[in-house]
Amino acid sequence: MDKRETGEQILRISGTEIRKCMKCGKCSGRCPAYREMDIKPHQFVGYLIKGKTEKLLESEAIWHCLSCMACVERCPRGVAPQGVIEAVRTTVTRMQGKNGISAEDIPPIVDELIPQQLLVSAYRKYNK
């Protein structure tokens, strides 16, 4: 896929109407991972509108999004910034060798009380 096709694919699977965004920044203002993100939630929407697909694909922020849906719930225009972030993360992890974590990363993180839910959730979010 070329850059334009990748951008179209991200837009299609994001499931949201990015052109409704009025750049108020409320999504980023309520994001619990804001400080940790190199590209902020409102910028994910803005970059997609402007076609800055490569920057999105190189983003570190896709590994920090908590999928807590606060941005989706609180957007006054019904846009889903999380949908864009998830679409980018899914597009990246579907590429060969681009998983966020590997099986070898898991054992050092596991302690006696770790819930299976955490292992499954993290693997689903970061791996394909």
Binding site: R12, I13, S14, G15, P32, A33, E36, W63, H64, L66, S67, C68, M69, A70, V72, E73, A80, Q82, G83, E86, A87, T90, G100, I101, D105, I109, L113, I114, P115, Q116, Q117, L118, V120, S121, A122, R124, K125, Y126
Partner: protein, 261 residues
């Protein structure tokens, strides 16, 4: 009342308390939880990407089984509830997903989102009623209790339709019903840091600490949750000042059946 029940992977392993106290309490309240057969892990998280299909199939299998067994599916873990309810919404409203998933699963009759997914707290509120629960309390839990919702029960509210997403009340009403003093605190519907600990454990630690500090400064003596991951994160990073327990444990205690669990 009999109801099809989906426990989920963690309730059979690390979160046995959440499950067993729910079962003994349900007996007292006249509910028989009918564990569905051969259920599979829900996947823990819902992927919002519109072309995602394979990761939603296990939820559909559970939903289809519940459709044939009473039409309701009871959930208890917040994550399972979130995933199953959202997949059910897709089956109902996303034609493309519904057609492809049904073509693959080939049930006797296509599944189109007919099952009603209800969380245990919704069952207490809507099917039994907090008034009736209050009448059955033998050992009131006389403590200042903070109800922690987190994200998964509430959001996205258009699909979850669980409670008011910014000012929920079901946990507080539950706490009142079991004889406790509910403590409303600002961070009760904010994220605990979830699965991000795998990539950035400091971020999860920071979010969990903020939740516990918020509950503590509001005067809470104990925090209740319905989510095994929230419980793990809050206990691990909360500094141990306030204990975090499953809401079902306090329910069983108040109903006088904790020893049976």
């Amino acid at each position: 009342m009999r109801i099809s029940y989906y426990p989920g992977c963690t309730l059979k392993t690390q979160a046995k308390d959440l499950d067993r106290y729910a079962r003994v309490s349900a007996q007292v309240l006249g509910v028989e939880m009918d564990e569905i057969e051969n259920w599979q892990c829900c996947g823990g998280v819902y992927n919002t990407s519109r072309d995602e299909i394979a990761t939603k199939l296990s939820a559909l299998r559970a939903l289809e089984q519940a459709k044939r067994n009473g039409g309701k599916l009871l959930t208890l873990c917040s994550a399972c509830h979130n995933v199953i309810k959202r997949v059910n919404d897709d089956a109902k409203n996303d034609e493309n997903f519904c057609a492809k998933a049904n073509a693959y699963l080939s049930f006797d009759e296509p599944y189109r989102g007919e099952t009603q997914v209800i969380h245990y707290l919704e069952m207490l509120r809507d099917e039994i009623g907090f008034q009736k629960i209050a009448e059955k309390i033998v050992r009131p839990v006389k403590k200042k209790i903070a109800g922690y919702y987190g994200c998964l029960l509430l959001r996205p509210s258009k699909v979850m339709a669980f409670d008011n997403p910014e000012n929920p009340s079901v946990l507080e009403n539950f706490i009142e019903a079991i004889g406790g003093d509910p403590v409303r605190f600002p961070m009760r519907n904010e994220c605990c840091g979830a699965y991000v600990s795998f990539k950035d454990k400091d971020l999860t630690a920071k979010r969990s600490r903020l939740v516990i500090e918020s509950a503590e400064s509001a005067g809470a003596e104990i925090v209740v949750t319905a989510c095994p991951l929230c419980l793990y994160n809050l206990r691990k990073n909360g500094g141990g000042k306030i204990d975090v327990v499953y809401f079902t444990e306090l329910l069983a205690e108040a109903l006088g059946v904790k020893e049976n669990g």
